[in-house]
């Protein structure tokens, strides 16, 4: 599809206005970045971020509203704490914490948001290659989850 690192971005639907930036679920300027819109940055479960990295994504980031202005009052602060924790956990597993990012931009900060994502992607491009995905990415997730819990 493109030559950039595969990046998954979880973006709060109240924060950056993605309509002018997105095309077919990806950023128009960086097609290697897949955007998943979520109701609040606090909705993102850290295991999903870990999972995305484990399944072969080169980087994952979460975007919330500016700190202090979360529509749901605390979602972005909670998510920042969870991302910090997950970064420490990744470091123990020899995964570079730079592969995980937390951004905070408001409805109008489209250009600043794009610049931050570009910097994030460039940072990942500079890293040594990641470990190969621990499971075949073709396996559908729900079926895999069912097999794991007998």
């Amino acid at each position: 599809m493109s030559n950039g690192p595969k990046v998954v971005g979880f973006v709060c639907d109240w924060s950056v206005d993605l309509v002018p930036l997105m095309e077919g679920g990806r950023l128009r300027e960086m097609p290697s970045v897949r955007i998943i819109r979520v109701p609040c940055s606090g909705f993102v479960r850290p295991s999903w971020l870990e999972d995305a990295l484990g399944r072969g994504a080169d980087g994952v980031f979460v975007t919330g509203c500016p700190y202090g202005d979360c529509l749901n009052r605390e979602g972005n602060y909670l998510m920042r704490d969870r991302v910090d924790q997950l970064q420490r956990r990744l470091q123990r597993r020899r995964v570079d914490p730079a592969r995980l990012g937390m951004l905070a931009y408001g409805l109008h900060d489209g250009p600043a948001f794009l610049a931050a994502v570009r910097a994030f992607v460039e940072g990942i491009r500079a890293l040594p290659a990641a470990a190969p995905p621990r499971s075949a990415p073709a396996a559908p997730a729900p079926a895999a989850a069912e097999r794991e819990t007998p």
């Binding site: 595969k6 897949r34 109701p39 909705f43 202005d69 009052r73 729900p142």
Partner: protein, 400 residues
């Protein structure tokens, strides 16, 4: 909904929706501009509620001081306020603080109201803070008006006459209300006793309504950052020192002054009396507050189907997976999750070993999904945006 990939939400169709979207953009643009001046954590517009509470607290403290010296009677009312201003050490300063903190209070309250209206912070079950907030606004405005009465100078006298006229203009109950308000057929000593009670009673009631206002919030931002506390207190004292609060001429039983100094924060309804009949002003006030109460119910910026992932249904607990760890209970910003004793024996091993079960109080849930992010045991889901839907999008992203 299930993939959400590349679905561009159409702009709201109704005229109200388009207008409110424009206002939302304007509000957030103002934030961007202010955030260039301050670090985002100190943006005063993020703390309008805390600032209101701070000003209310200043009002209570200075009001207690003033209360010790005030005498509620026609003869002593004006004289005791003059004594506070000129005779009591620092009395004039405290009176000025009380006066300017009231202005700050009403400004902060109105900013709080418009900001939360314009940024959609009254949606779903957040109508409860909205309704209690409207009560706080009405009571706060009325307390400000009775405060002007207590000074009992010419302005107070005219205001009382105007308000009595407005009450009398109401059909059926008007005369009775006017008699109750001034304590008899005409103005007497009892009028100022009532004014004092109607100043302090509703002001105390504000704290009962604040309890209702905060009831569904976990960690409410009650105070602004310390720098803004210092700045606000300093500003109020500075104003009180530079522009002292003063009384007009003492009220005289026969006096009928034609004009008085206006106050744009509390006395706008009385200014309208220049142009409208008392009954029309009462109808206008009634219509404004009725509309205010109805805002969460009559019109939305976006129709529910336009909200996509932001309207994914009330969170649901998956009984078999819940371990009773209380993480969602601690993280929910709306106190919408309660921990209840787990019913025995339970559906699964996790259920058999837990003490507590998380339960979502549906009337408090705003569908934000923060509890889903808090739960490491896959025991919570938003019904219209499942974990499976997220995983499908992740897979699609890494496969390409």
């Amino acid at each position: 909904m299930s993939t959400g990939a590349g679905i561009a939400p159409s702009p709201p169709r109704s005229r109200y929706g388009r207008f409110m979207t424009g206002v939302l953009r304007g509000t957030l643009k103002l934030d961007v501009w202010i955030n260039k001046v301050y670090p985002a954590d100190y943006n005063p517009l993020y703390y309008t509620g805390g600032l209101s509470n701070l000003f209310l607290f200043i009002l209570v403290l200075s009001g207690i001081f003033l209360f010790f010296y005030y005498e509620a009677s026609l003869v002593e009312g004006f004289a005791s306020v003059q004594y506070i201003t000129l005779g009591v050490p620092y009395g004039g300063l405290i009176r000025g603080v009380h006066r300017y903190a009231a202005d700050g209070f009403i400004v902060a309250v109105l900013l709080h109201l418009f900001r939360n209206w314009f940024t959609d912070r009254y949606l779903f079950s957040r109508d409860n803070p909205w309704i209690s907030g409207m009560f706080l606004l009405i009571f706060g405005g009325f307390v400000g008006f009775t405060g002007y009465q207590l000074v009992w100078d010419e302005r107070a006298q005219v205001l009382t006459a105007m308000f009595v006229g407005m009450l009398r203009s109401l059909p059926l109950i008007g005369d009775w209300l006017a008699r109750v308000f001034i304590g008899g057929a005409g103005v007497s000593d009892g009028t100022l006793v009532r004014a004092l009670f109607l100043h302090i009673g509703p002001a105390s009631a504000l704290y009962v309504m604040l309890w209702w206002h905060y009831l569904r919030l976990r960690h409410p931002k009650i105070w602004p950052p310390a720098t803004w506390v210092l700045a606000s207190v300093g500003l109020v004292f500075l104003l009180a020192g530079v522009i002292p609060a003063t009384s007009g001429q003492p009220a005289a039983p026969a006096g009928r002054p034609a004009s008085f100094p206006m106050d744009i924060f509390f006395l706008i309804p009385f200014w309208l009396l220049n142009y409208m009949s008392p009954f029309a002003v009462m109808v206008l006030l009634g219509a404004l507050f009725t509309l205010g109460f109805a805002i969460p119910y009559i019109a939305r910026r976006e129709a529910p189907q336009e909200m996509s992932v932001r309207h994914a249904g009330v969170a649901q607990v998956i009984d078999g997976n819940c371990t009773g760890c209380e993480l969602c209970f601690f993280d929910c910003p709306y106190n919408a999750i309660a921990m209840v004793p787990s019913p025995a024996p339970g559906l699964s091993r996790a259920a058999a070993n837990r003490t507590w079960l998380a339960v979502v109080i549906e009337s408090r849930c705003v569908e934000c999904g923060i509890c889903i992010g808090a739960c490491p045991f896959e025991a919570l889901e938003l019904p219209k945006f499942l974990e499976r839907d997220v995983q499908a999008q992740v897979l699609e992203a890494v496969r390409a």
